[in-house]
Amino acid sequence: MYFERYERPETVQEASALLREERESRILAGGTDLVPRLKSGAWKTKMVVDLSRLEELQGVRYTKRGLELGAMVRLAALQEERSLQGAHRLLGECAGHVSSIQVRNMATIGGNSCNASPSADTAPAMLLFNASACIRRGDTEYLLPMDEFYMGAGRTALEQGDILLRFVIPKQPEHTGAAYYKYSIRGDSDISIVGAGAKLVLEEGRIQEARLAFASVSAKTIRIQEAERMLLGQEPTKELFQEAAVLCAGLCAPITDQRASESYRRKMTKVFAEKALASAFRRISGI
């Protein structure tokens, strides 16, 4: 592994300036993914900018906009976070599915998104909750829906010099249930074969909002909107969930790799989409 500079700026302005000054630079959040990539030579860079001292990127708080989740919140902390409300608790659960405790003690929620790994365990929850990324570009901050944030395997909408500050996650309606299943062979230390997330909002016995988001079955974390639409206005039943799961299996775009074959991933998408929907439904409070 080789690079020339390691910087640990104290302010966002300073970080931003460093990143603009050296185009061949990489942001370090927790480092659990970046460092192995730099070591293996898969990535090369001249400068590593460690954001761990940026206070602005820390913290978990509720504001008018909803849950504001600092990009540098460590996954282990998020997993233990008590202030998460209602369906948002799924974020903590998903954080807990990322690898082992040693990794979660370093890895951050921002890093897990910026990697844009198709298997990122926290990414489906971001899509389920219609989260946005608050990004600093130059001297301005803007919000980008997470749907548009993930662009492909290892690709995000971030440009060189951009800093992901925090996630803004809207408050969820009262009768919301959300669930995520990570299917892997060896538990959380493994990368998933499929990660299936579902969110349901119920009103008067009918599905008012539905979201389905999947990891590891496409080049990026995806939603299957056809299936979401199909659920709308329906009464939640086992058969309905099965039907939606079949749609998901048909519409996802998995590949064959060392972890699973394409056809197996499709089958598992069906199995775990159904489980996620059923679990999301069970979690809706007051039913």
């Binding site: 030579g41 062979i185 060896r186 538990g187 493994d190 197996y264 199995v271």
Partner: protein, 786 residues
């Protein structure tokens, strides 16, 4: 004083829990001018090297040597297959094409990147299915001597490397006598040992022209030093010193000095001190794997369930083990020949080459692979005869004193007890309750035996100093199994002292006496035997000394608890230290024991050699002794995902009399865990170029803690049948105990879901496919009925 059969705390435990134990990588900082070795590896399973240019790399800063297959100036035939460099052609993806030694690892890596190679990819074969035919896409070793004219072959295929035939009774008659017959074809896949410490060697070219090598390879005398001397005949044997620090596991992997020889070569080229450590990826692509066994088996049994005939064809797929005539299918086949008594046997084994990394020994030496099908067919026989899997096995096992298929006597066999205890531990006779969930539950059992080869010789020195302190010097392998502690217990028992009084000196060819290697679970048995003899030799010398001092016959002096007890004289006992005279001008005397020069007992233990077998493969001595095991499991299989979860495992081992039962338990537990990995998830996968595509501990599914049942559901049973020639009845035990788990799980899968696995690992994808096939057949039947 009884020191064996006790749970004495491991002698290495303190150093290991405090981080003081030094392994290979921990030595590096002691050598300030160390050079680092790195290999350039072929990305193709089979390719012609059209151009190899090392000019640019050689000129880079810090680079001290760049060696190619061509310019190395060695006879590659003398190198272990895994470390042979490609000269004109690469035979597997991962084969070394060039070696660099540089002043830092970074510089070595940069030099590797600067080497220019042009390959012409050639056709390759990766599996036994592709290779075992008349016209394979690739002929791995066109020079196989076995195909010389006039040598009739059972399998005249170009990639078959060797054959072994073994017959007993009349096979046709055996099947005529059978009331039921069963048959099937089975196979396994490639897996890697994955010991946690990567292979490494450090070689210092000393100022006086001597070479000192530290390495984590097995057999410092009998494997490493011997191989170095053979490959570098210009170096006198006395100029090579091999030292083994603490080593982080082997499981057979480090029985081949694939990193030591290239390391030595680079020390020779640079006249420096060099360090060569494999990366984890290289442990998957360039270090030996297991060999795959493919079996085709037919069994016959009479109406009572007694086996009448066994016909077995076995292929050992060895990877690109070019020029290897030692493998013939005999090694793996041995595990099918030592457990059940069958009057009529026909065995035909062969070894087969492919374009994958050359295979090597792996815990069990093919037993887990070879017996898989045999054990499953035993279940089928039982089913056809309405017997239980336990009953049919108990009915057919060889009894102590009876012969195995080769005609040799079995002197110790505790497999019946293993079977009974394992069955009891999982309540095998009580069927699983199905709870109507997506999980199906089932139980299974299997057993096996693994031979111990009669090869090798162990020596031990026992030094008793004038202050009563004791040194035991041995060179056996010490990869974590616990043999070092057991040896100390043996010496303590022999000398009637506390173990803490004994210091074990282990693993330095300049200081510790000869030992071949501890392969074949022989460390405790063979080196333990040598330690006993050495202790007795030392004791005899003390007895003789006491006899001289007190004027009594030596047999009237007894050595125990640091004293000599005397009969036939007025003195009852004296401390041993009084037998040693000080070296001073008025006291030294001309004979007798002197302070500062210890009594030195020497022991040699060497099992009787094998007797060459006849044309039917029959001999009164093929192997030495056998270790047995039985494993029983309770599993859950998910109907939707195909995933198997092991809910309960009982691992029973016929270990001989255990010297340290807790250490033996640890072997049984570790073996269960490792075997679960073999059975349901571990497998090497290859890309289109024949390169391993899951070459990391992230993608290669080594079992984790979560894959093991919770503690109360892991049952271990020690079922000793004492080995007459083992130290205190002990024998080796750690190979059989990984070998029956695969068939036990497959049996449980059939019990749970009614599906039959013909190979393993029984991955979730494979099991789901079997479930779907079963459902399709069922649906088709229903459709026809309506």
């Amino acid at each position: 004083m009884k020191m064996t059969g006790k749970d004495y705390i491991r002698i290495d435990a303190y150093e290991k829990v405090t981080g003081r134990a030094e392994y290979m990588g921990d030595l590096v900082h002691k050598f300030p001018d160390l050079l680092y070795v790195k290999g350039l590896r072929s990305p193709y399973a089979h390719a012609r090297i059209l151009r190899l240019d090392i000019q640019k790399a050689s000129r880079l800063s810090g680079v001290r040597a760049v060696v190619t297959g061509e310019n190395a100036g060695v006879d590659w035939g003398k190198f272990p297959q895994q470390s042979r460099m490609a000269v004109t052609e690469t035979l597997w993806a991962g084969q070394t094409v060039a070696l660099v030694a540089a002043e830092s690892l970074e510089e070595a890596k940069r030099a590797i990147e600067a080497i220019e190679v042009e390959y012409e990819p050639l056709e390759h074969v990766l599996t036994w299915q592709e290779s075992f035919c008349e016209r394979p896409k690739s002929v791995v070793d066109p020079k196989l001597p076995i195909h010389q004219p006039g040598k009739p072959m059972h399998f005249p295929y170009p990639n078959v490397a060797g054959e072994f035939v073994q017959q007993k009774g009349e096979i046709e008659k055996g099947f005529l006598e059978a009331a039921v017959t069963v048959e099937g074809e089975f196979w396994t896949e490639k897996r890697v040992h994955s010991q946690l410490e990567r292979a490494a060697a450090l070689c210092a070219y000393e100022k006086d022209g001597k070479f000192t090598m530290w390495c984590n390879g097995c057999g410092i005398h009998g494997v490493v030093k011997k191989a170095l001397a053979a490959a570098f005949p210009q170096i006198p044997y006395s100029d090579i010193r091999v030292i083994s620090p603490y080593t982080g596991g082997s499981f057979g992997n480090r029985n081949i000095p694939y990193v030591e020889l290239p390391c030595f070569l680079m020390a020779l080229k640079t006249k420096g001190t060099v360090f060569y450590e494999f990366t984890r990826e290289e442990m998957f692509t360039a270090a030996p794997t297991n060999w795959v066994c493919a079996t085709k088996i037919k069994l016959g049994a009479d109406a009572e369930g007694r086996l009448t005939a066994k016909e077995l064809r076995l292929i050992e797929e060895l990877g690109a083990a070019a020029g290897n005539e030692a493998y013939t299918g005999r090694l793996s086949g041995s595990s099918t020949a030592n457990t059940y008594s069958v009057p009529n046997v026909s065995f035909l084994g062969c070894s087969l080459l492919t374009n994958t990394v050359p295979a090597g020994p792996y815990r069990g030496l093919g037993t887990p692979d070879a017996i898989f099908g045999l054990e499953l067919l035993m279940n089928e026989l039982a089913e056809k005869l309405h017997m239980s899997p336990l009953e049919i096995r108990l009915k057919n096992i060889i009894l102590r004193g009876e012969e195995d298929d080769y005609g040799e006597e079995i002197t110790s066999i505790g497999v019946a007890q293993c079977l009974q205890q394992a069955a009891e531990a999982v309540e095998l006779s009580v069927p699983c309750v199905q709870d109507g969930s997506e999980w199906l539950y089932g139980k299974g059992i299997a057993c096996c035996g693994k031979q111990n080869g009669p090869n090798g010789r162990s020596e031990a020195d026992v030094l008793i100093h004038h202050d009563g302190s004791i040194e035991v010097r041995v060179s056996c392998d010490n990869h974590g199994m616990g043999v070092s502690t057991a040896l100390v217990q043996i010496a303590a028992e022999e000398l009637s002292v506390e173990p803490k009084q004994i210091r074990l000196v282990i693993g330095d060819t300049d200081r510790t006496p000869f030992d071949n290697f501890s392969a074949s679970s022989s460390g405790l048995y063979r080196t333990g035997g040598a330690v006993r003899i050495a202790c007795r030799d030392a004791k005899r010398q003390l007895q003789e000394e006491a006899a001289r001092m007190f004027g009594i016959p030596a047999e009237l002096a007894e050595i125990r608890e640091n004293r000599v007890y005397l009969r036939g004289t007025y003195v009852k006992s004296v401390p041993i230290c009084e037998l040693f005279r000080p070296l001073s001008m008025f006291e030294q005397d001309v004979w007798g024991l002197k302070q500062g020069t210890p009594v030195r007992g020497h022991g040699v233990f060497c099992p009787a050699q094998a007797v060459p077998w006849d044309e039917k493969g029959r001999t009164p001595r093929m192997w030495n002794w056998f270790q047995y095991a039985a494993s029983a499991v309770e599993i859950a299989v998910n109907q939707k995902t195909g995933q198997i979860k092991i809910l309960k495992i009982a691992n029973a081992g016929d270990t001989g009399s255990p010297i340290n039962p807790k250490i033996v338990e640890g072997q049984l537990e570790g073996a269960a865990h490792m075997a679960l990995g073999f059975t349901v998830q571990e497998q090497l996968l290859y890309d289109e170029n024949g390169k391993v595509k899951n070459a990391s501990l992230g993608d290669y599914r080594l079992p984790l803690i979560l894959d093991m049942p919770v503690n109360e559901n892991v049952k271990v049973c020690i079922c000793p049948d004492p080995l007459p020639d083992g130290p205190y009845g002990a024998k080796g035990m750690s190979e059989s105990v990984v070998s029956a788990v695969g068939a036990a799980v497959a049996g449980a899968l059939y019990d749970a879901a009614g599906i039959k696995a013909d190979h393993y690992p029984m991955t979730a994808e494979m099991v789901l496919r079997l479930l779907e096939e079963k459902k399709a057949v069922h649906d088709e039947k229903e459709r026809r009925q309506t």
